[in-house]
Protein backbone atom coordinates (compact mmCIF):
# COMPACT_ATOMS: atom_id res chain seq x y z
CA UNK A 1 0.00 0.00 0.00
CA UNK A 2 2.48 2.62 -1.08
CA UNK A 3 -0.37 4.54 -2.71
CA UNK A 4 -0.83 6.55 0.48
CA UNK A 5 2.69 7.90 0.39
CA UNK A 6 2.29 8.59 -3.35
CA UNK A 7 -0.95 10.49 -2.64
CA UNK A 8 0.82 12.51 0.05
CA UNK A 9 3.64 13.39 -2.35
CA UNK A 10 1.09 14.57 -4.92
CA UNK A 11 -0.61 16.78 -2.33
CA UNK A 12 2.75 18.14 -1.12
CA UNK A 13 3.62 19.17 -4.67
CA UNK A 14 0.23 20.81 -5.22
CA UNK A 15 0.38 22.64 -1.88
CA UNK A 16 3.83 23.96 -2.70
CA UNK A 17 2.70 25.19 -6.13
CA UNK A 18 -0.47 26.83 -4.85
CA UNK A 19 1.49 28.52 -2.06
CA UNK A 20 3.94 29.87 -4.59
CA UNK A 21 1.22 31.12 -6.93
CA UNK A 22 -1.22 32.29 -4.29
CA UNK A 23 -4.11 30.45 -5.88
CA UNK A 24 -6.54 27.73 -4.94
CA UNK A 25 -6.13 24.27 -6.45
CA UNK A 26 -9.29 22.90 -8.01
CA UNK A 27 -7.83 19.82 -9.61
CA UNK A 28 -4.56 17.95 -9.96
CA UNK A 29 -3.86 16.11 -13.20
CA UNK A 30 -1.69 13.03 -12.90
CA UNK A 31 -0.30 10.62 -15.49
CA UNK A 32 -0.13 7.02 -14.36
CA UNK A 33 1.74 4.50 -16.49
CA UNK A 34 0.58 0.89 -16.66
CA UNK A 35 4.06 -0.11 -15.39
CA UNK A 36 4.31 2.56 -12.70
CA UNK A 37 3.51 0.08 -9.95
CA UNK A 38 0.59 2.21 -8.76
CA UNK A 39 -3.08 1.28 -9.14
CA UNK A 40 -5.59 3.94 -10.11
CA UNK A 41 -8.35 2.83 -7.73
CA UNK A 42 -5.97 2.43 -4.80
CA UNK A 43 -4.46 5.84 -5.49
CA UNK A 44 -7.89 7.51 -5.64
CA UNK A 45 -8.92 6.01 -2.27
CA UNK A 46 -5.59 6.89 -0.68
CA UNK A 47 -5.90 10.40 -2.08
CA UNK A 48 -9.37 10.88 -0.57
CA UNK A 49 -7.98 9.89 2.78
CA UNK A 50 -4.83 12.00 2.52
CA UNK A 51 -6.38 15.24 1.29
CA UNK A 52 -8.54 15.73 4.40
CA UNK A 53 -5.31 16.43 6.29
CA UNK A 54 -4.14 19.15 3.90
CA UNK A 55 -4.94 22.72 2.96
CA UNK A 56 -6.50 21.40 -0.29
CA UNK A 57 -9.47 19.32 0.88
CA UNK A 58 -11.48 20.28 -2.21
CA UNK A 59 -8.85 19.54 -4.86
CA UNK A 60 -9.90 16.78 -7.25
CA UNK A 61 -7.48 14.17 -8.50
CA UNK A 62 -7.78 13.49 -12.23
CA UNK A 63 -5.83 10.46 -13.39
CA UNK A 64 -4.86 9.79 -16.97
CA UNK A 65 -3.79 6.18 -17.44
CA UNK A 66 -0.90 5.76 -19.86
CA UNK A 67 -0.65 2.45 -21.75
CA UNK A 68 2.69 0.83 -22.48
CA UNK A 69 4.35 1.57 -25.80
CA UNK A 70 7.47 -0.24 -26.92
CA UNK A 71 9.84 0.26 -29.81
CA UNK A 72 9.48 -2.73 -32.11
CA UNK A 73 12.90 -3.68 -33.52
CA UNK A 74 11.27 -5.46 -36.45
CA UNK A 75 8.71 -2.83 -37.50
CA UNK A 76 11.21 -0.10 -36.52
CA UNK A 77 8.32 1.82 -35.02
CA UNK A 78 6.60 2.59 -31.71
CA UNK A 79 3.94 -0.01 -31.02
CA UNK A 80 1.38 -0.87 -28.37
CA UNK A 81 1.54 -4.21 -26.50
CA UNK A 82 -1.20 -6.85 -26.05
CA UNK A 83 -0.91 -6.54 -22.24
CA UNK A 84 1.65 -5.75 -19.55
CA UNK A 85 2.09 -9.51 -19.20
CA UNK A 86 3.26 -9.68 -22.76
CA UNK A 87 5.74 -7.05 -23.84
CA UNK A 88 5.78 -7.63 -27.54
CA UNK A 89 4.68 -5.78 -30.65
CA UNK A 90 0.92 -5.94 -31.06
CA UNK A 91 1.36 -6.15 -34.84
CA UNK A 92 4.13 -8.70 -35.36
CA UNK A 93 4.59 -10.17 -31.84
CA UNK A 94 8.33 -9.45 -31.72
CA UNK A 95 9.36 -9.12 -28.05
CA UNK A 96 10.91 -5.83 -26.99
CA UNK A 97 12.08 -4.45 -23.68
CA UNK A 98 12.63 -0.96 -25.06
CA UNK A 99 9.83 0.85 -23.27
CA UNK A 100 8.85 4.23 -24.72
CA UNK A 101 6.03 5.01 -22.32
CA UNK A 102 4.12 3.39 -19.49
CA UNK A 103 6.34 4.09 -16.47
CA UNK A 104 4.91 7.58 -15.83
CA UNK A 105 4.15 8.63 -12.29
CA UNK A 106 3.88 12.33 -12.83
CA UNK A 107 1.93 15.43 -11.86
CA UNK A 108 1.33 17.06 -15.24
CA UNK A 109 -0.88 20.06 -14.48
CA UNK A 110 -2.87 21.92 -11.86
CA UNK A 111 -6.20 23.70 -12.28
CA UNK A 112 -5.98 26.89 -10.27
CA UNK A 113 -8.49 29.54 -9.32
CA UNK A 114 -7.24 32.82 -7.93
Amino acid sequence: MHELSIAMSILDMAEEECGRRGAEVEAIHVKLGALSGVLKEALLSAYDLARTETTLPAAQLIIEEVPVMIFCPRCQAPRSVPSIQHLCCSECETPSSEILQGRELQVVALELRS
Binding site: M13, E17, V107, L110, R113
Partner: protein
Amino acid sequence: MNSPRIVEVRKNILKQNDEIAHALRGRFEEAGVFVVNLVSSPGSGKTAFLESTLTKLRTDFRVAALVGDLATENDAIRLARSQVPVRQIITGTVCHLEAAMIERNLKDWNLHELDFLFVENVGNLVCPSSYDLGENLRVVLMSVTEGEDKPLKYPTIVNSADVAVITKTDLADAVEFDWPVAAKNLRAVRPGIEILQVSAKSGSGMDAWLQFITSQRRDVVEHLVWHS
Protein backbone atom coordinates in the same frame (compact mmCIF):
# COMPACT_ATOMS: atom_id res chain seq x y z
CA MET B 1 -16.13 33.87 -10.56
CA ASN B 2 -13.16 33.35 -12.88
CA SER B 3 -12.87 30.06 -14.66
CA PRO B 4 -9.91 27.99 -13.51
CA ARG B 5 -6.63 28.26 -15.34
CA ILE B 6 -4.48 25.30 -16.06
CA VAL B 7 -0.79 25.43 -15.29
CA GLU B 8 1.59 22.81 -16.51
CA VAL B 9 3.78 21.26 -13.82
CA ARG B 10 5.36 18.05 -15.16
CA LYS B 11 7.03 16.78 -12.04
CA ASN B 12 7.75 13.18 -11.16
CA ILE B 13 5.81 12.26 -8.07
CA LEU B 14 8.79 10.34 -6.70
CA LYS B 15 11.15 13.20 -7.52
CA GLN B 16 12.43 13.38 -3.97
CA ASN B 17 13.25 9.66 -3.91
CA ASP B 18 14.79 9.84 -7.37
CA GLU B 19 17.04 12.72 -6.35
CA ILE B 20 18.32 10.89 -3.28
CA ALA B 21 18.79 7.70 -5.35
CA HIS B 22 20.73 9.69 -7.93
CA ALA B 23 23.02 11.13 -5.24
CA LEU B 24 23.52 7.65 -3.74
CA ARG B 25 24.39 6.23 -7.15
CA GLY B 26 27.05 8.91 -7.48
CA ARG B 27 28.50 8.03 -4.05
CA PHE B 28 28.50 4.30 -4.82
CA GLU B 29 30.18 4.88 -8.15
CA GLU B 30 32.83 7.14 -6.69
CA ALA B 31 33.58 4.59 -3.96
CA GLY B 32 33.64 1.67 -6.42
CA VAL B 33 30.98 -0.30 -4.56
CA PHE B 34 28.56 -2.44 -6.57
CA VAL B 35 25.04 -2.35 -5.15
CA VAL B 36 22.51 -5.16 -5.54
CA ASN B 37 18.81 -4.72 -4.61
CA LEU B 38 17.01 -8.02 -3.90
CA VAL B 39 13.24 -7.98 -4.31
CA SER B 40 10.77 -10.83 -3.90
CA SER B 41 7.61 -11.91 -2.14
CA PRO B 42 7.81 -12.91 1.54
CA GLY B 43 9.19 -16.42 2.01
CA SER B 44 10.94 -16.77 -1.35
CA GLY B 45 14.24 -17.46 0.34
CA LYS B 46 15.90 -14.04 0.09
CA THR B 47 17.62 -14.28 3.46
CA ALA B 48 19.00 -17.82 2.96
CA PHE B 49 20.18 -16.83 -0.52
CA LEU B 50 21.81 -13.67 0.83
CA GLU B 51 23.46 -15.50 3.73
CA SER B 52 24.99 -17.99 1.32
CA THR B 53 26.06 -15.17 -1.04
CA LEU B 54 27.70 -13.13 1.72
CA THR B 55 29.50 -16.15 3.17
CA LYS B 56 30.94 -17.22 -0.18
CA LEU B 57 31.76 -13.74 -1.43
CA ARG B 58 33.55 -12.52 1.68
CA THR B 59 36.62 -14.69 1.05
CA ASP B 60 37.53 -12.57 -1.99
CA PHE B 61 35.59 -9.34 -1.56
CA ARG B 62 34.60 -6.77 1.06
CA VAL B 63 30.85 -7.11 1.42
CA ALA B 64 28.05 -5.68 3.56
CA ALA B 65 24.27 -5.81 3.65
CA LEU B 66 21.28 -3.68 4.57
CA VAL B 67 18.11 -5.66 5.23
CA GLY B 68 14.61 -4.24 5.25
CA ASP B 69 11.81 -5.69 7.33
CA LEU B 70 8.52 -4.36 8.63
CA ALA B 71 8.96 -5.34 12.24
CA THR B 72 11.78 -7.66 13.26
CA GLU B 73 15.56 -7.87 13.40
CA ASN B 74 15.48 -11.62 12.72
CA ASP B 75 17.02 -11.33 9.26
CA ALA B 76 19.97 -9.25 10.46
CA ILE B 77 20.57 -11.72 13.28
CA ARG B 78 20.59 -14.60 10.78
CA LEU B 79 22.81 -12.73 8.34
CA ALA B 80 25.29 -11.81 11.08
CA ARG B 81 26.36 -15.45 10.95
CA SER B 82 28.03 -14.68 7.64
CA GLN B 83 30.42 -12.42 9.61
CA VAL B 84 30.08 -9.38 7.40
CA PRO B 85 28.66 -5.99 8.43
CA VAL B 86 24.85 -6.24 8.39
CA ARG B 87 22.37 -3.59 9.40
CA GLN B 88 18.60 -4.01 9.77
CA ILE B 89 16.26 -1.32 8.49
CA ILE B 90 12.92 -1.60 10.27
CA THR B 91 10.37 0.17 8.12
CA GLY B 92 7.43 0.03 10.54
CA THR B 93 4.35 0.21 8.37
CA VAL B 94 6.17 1.08 5.15
CA CYS B 95 5.94 -1.77 2.64
CA HIS B 96 9.14 -1.01 0.71
CA LEU B 97 12.57 0.56 1.09
CA GLU B 98 13.11 4.14 -0.06
CA ALA B 99 16.37 5.80 -1.04
CA ALA B 100 16.29 8.01 2.07
CA MET B 101 16.24 4.91 4.30
CA ILE B 102 19.36 3.60 2.57
CA GLU B 103 21.10 6.95 2.92
CA ARG B 104 20.20 7.17 6.61
CA ASN B 105 21.32 3.64 7.41
CA LEU B 106 24.66 3.87 5.65
CA LYS B 107 25.59 6.40 8.34
CA ASP B 108 29.12 5.63 9.48
CA TRP B 109 29.91 2.93 6.91
CA ASN B 110 32.90 3.80 4.78
CA LEU B 111 31.82 2.92 1.25
CA HIS B 112 35.43 3.00 0.06
CA GLU B 113 36.04 -0.08 2.19
CA LEU B 114 33.38 -2.09 0.33
CA ASP B 115 33.25 -3.95 -2.98
CA PHE B 116 29.64 -5.10 -2.74
CA LEU B 117 26.62 -3.79 -0.86
CA PHE B 118 23.50 -5.96 -0.83
CA VAL B 119 20.11 -4.51 -0.04
CA GLU B 120 17.40 -6.98 0.90
CA ASN B 121 14.13 -5.21 0.23
CA VAL B 122 10.93 -5.76 2.23
CA GLY B 123 9.19 -8.96 1.07
CA ASN B 124 6.67 -7.47 -1.35
CA LEU B 125 6.27 -7.83 -5.11
CA VAL B 126 4.31 -4.64 -5.67
CA CYS B 127 5.57 -1.54 -3.89
CA PRO B 128 9.39 -1.82 -4.19
CA SER B 129 9.15 -1.61 -7.99
CA SER B 130 8.59 2.17 -7.96
CA TYR B 131 11.53 3.05 -5.72
CA ASP B 132 15.01 3.48 -7.11
CA LEU B 133 17.59 2.89 -4.36
CA GLY B 134 20.60 3.88 -6.43
CA GLU B 135 21.43 0.23 -7.06
CA ASN B 136 23.47 -1.14 -9.98
CA LEU B 137 21.48 -4.33 -10.25
CA ARG B 138 17.91 -5.19 -9.32
CA VAL B 139 17.40 -8.90 -8.78
CA VAL B 140 13.92 -10.41 -8.57
CA LEU B 141 13.79 -13.72 -6.70
CA MET B 142 11.09 -16.27 -7.21
CA SER B 143 11.00 -19.68 -5.52
CA VAL B 144 9.86 -22.84 -7.30
CA THR B 145 7.18 -23.28 -4.62
CA GLU B 146 5.47 -20.03 -5.70
CA GLY B 147 4.47 -21.42 -9.09
CA GLU B 148 5.44 -20.61 -12.67
CA ASP B 149 2.84 -17.88 -13.18
CA LYS B 150 4.25 -15.49 -10.54
CA PRO B 151 5.76 -13.19 -13.23
CA LEU B 152 2.35 -12.80 -14.89
CA LYS B 153 0.76 -11.85 -11.58
CA TYR B 154 3.42 -9.25 -10.78
CA PRO B 155 4.62 -7.97 -14.15
CA THR B 156 5.64 -4.53 -12.91
CA ILE B 157 8.35 -5.68 -10.53
CA VAL B 158 9.65 -8.29 -12.98
CA ASN B 159 9.77 -5.65 -15.66
CA SER B 160 11.84 -3.39 -13.42
CA ALA B 161 14.41 -6.14 -12.68
CA ASP B 162 17.74 -6.72 -14.41
CA VAL B 163 17.99 -10.41 -13.59
CA ALA B 164 15.70 -13.15 -12.23
CA VAL B 165 16.89 -15.77 -9.76
CA ILE B 166 14.76 -18.87 -9.27
CA THR B 167 15.35 -20.17 -5.74
CA LYS B 168 14.77 -23.39 -3.80
CA THR B 169 15.54 -25.48 -6.89
CA ASP B 170 16.11 -28.48 -4.59
CA LEU B 171 12.30 -28.56 -4.23
CA ALA B 172 11.57 -28.25 -7.97
CA ASP B 173 10.81 -31.94 -8.55
CA ALA B 174 8.62 -32.21 -5.47
CA VAL B 175 6.38 -29.37 -6.69
CA GLU B 176 6.68 -30.41 -10.36
CA PHE B 177 8.03 -27.02 -11.31
CA ASP B 178 7.71 -26.42 -15.05
CA TRP B 179 10.98 -24.73 -16.06
CA PRO B 180 10.13 -23.89 -19.69
CA VAL B 181 6.82 -22.28 -18.64
CA ALA B 182 8.53 -20.26 -15.90
CA ALA B 183 11.17 -19.01 -18.36
CA LYS B 184 8.51 -18.23 -20.96
CA ASN B 185 6.49 -16.20 -18.43
CA LEU B 186 9.52 -14.28 -17.19
CA ARG B 187 10.58 -13.42 -20.73
CA ALA B 188 7.06 -12.48 -21.82
CA VAL B 189 7.02 -9.83 -19.10
CA ARG B 190 10.67 -8.84 -19.44
CA PRO B 191 12.04 -9.86 -22.84
CA GLY B 192 15.66 -11.00 -22.72
CA ILE B 193 15.96 -11.17 -18.93
CA GLU B 194 18.83 -13.34 -17.64
CA ILE B 195 17.51 -16.23 -15.52
CA LEU B 196 19.62 -18.04 -12.91
CA GLN B 197 18.67 -21.09 -10.87
CA VAL B 198 19.93 -21.59 -7.33
CA SER B 199 19.45 -23.61 -4.21
CA ALA B 200 20.96 -21.91 -1.18
CA LYS B 201 20.42 -25.17 0.69
CA SER B 202 22.35 -27.52 -1.60
CA GLY B 203 24.60 -24.79 -3.02
CA SER B 204 23.59 -25.69 -6.56
CA GLY B 205 23.83 -22.72 -8.94
CA MET B 206 25.53 -20.47 -6.39
CA ASP B 207 28.83 -20.45 -8.29
CA ALA B 208 27.13 -19.30 -11.48
CA TRP B 209 25.36 -16.53 -9.52
CA LEU B 210 28.62 -15.38 -7.90
CA GLN B 211 30.35 -15.40 -11.26
CA PHE B 212 27.50 -13.37 -12.71
CA ILE B 213 27.64 -10.60 -10.10
CA THR B 214 31.43 -10.44 -9.97
CA SER B 215 31.56 -10.02 -13.73
CA GLN B 216 28.81 -7.38 -13.58
CA ARG B 217 30.84 -5.54 -10.94
CA ARG B 218 34.01 -5.84 -12.98
CA ASP B 219 32.26 -4.29 -15.99
CA VAL B 220 31.13 -1.30 -13.92
CA VAL B 221 34.43 -0.78 -12.11
CA GLU B 222 36.56 -1.19 -15.24
CA HIS B 223 34.29 1.18 -17.08
CA LEU B 224 34.94 3.74 -14.34
CA VAL B 225 38.71 3.24 -14.41
CA TRP B 226 38.67 3.63 -18.16
CA HIS B 227 36.79 6.91 -17.88
CA SER B 228 38.81 8.44 -15.06
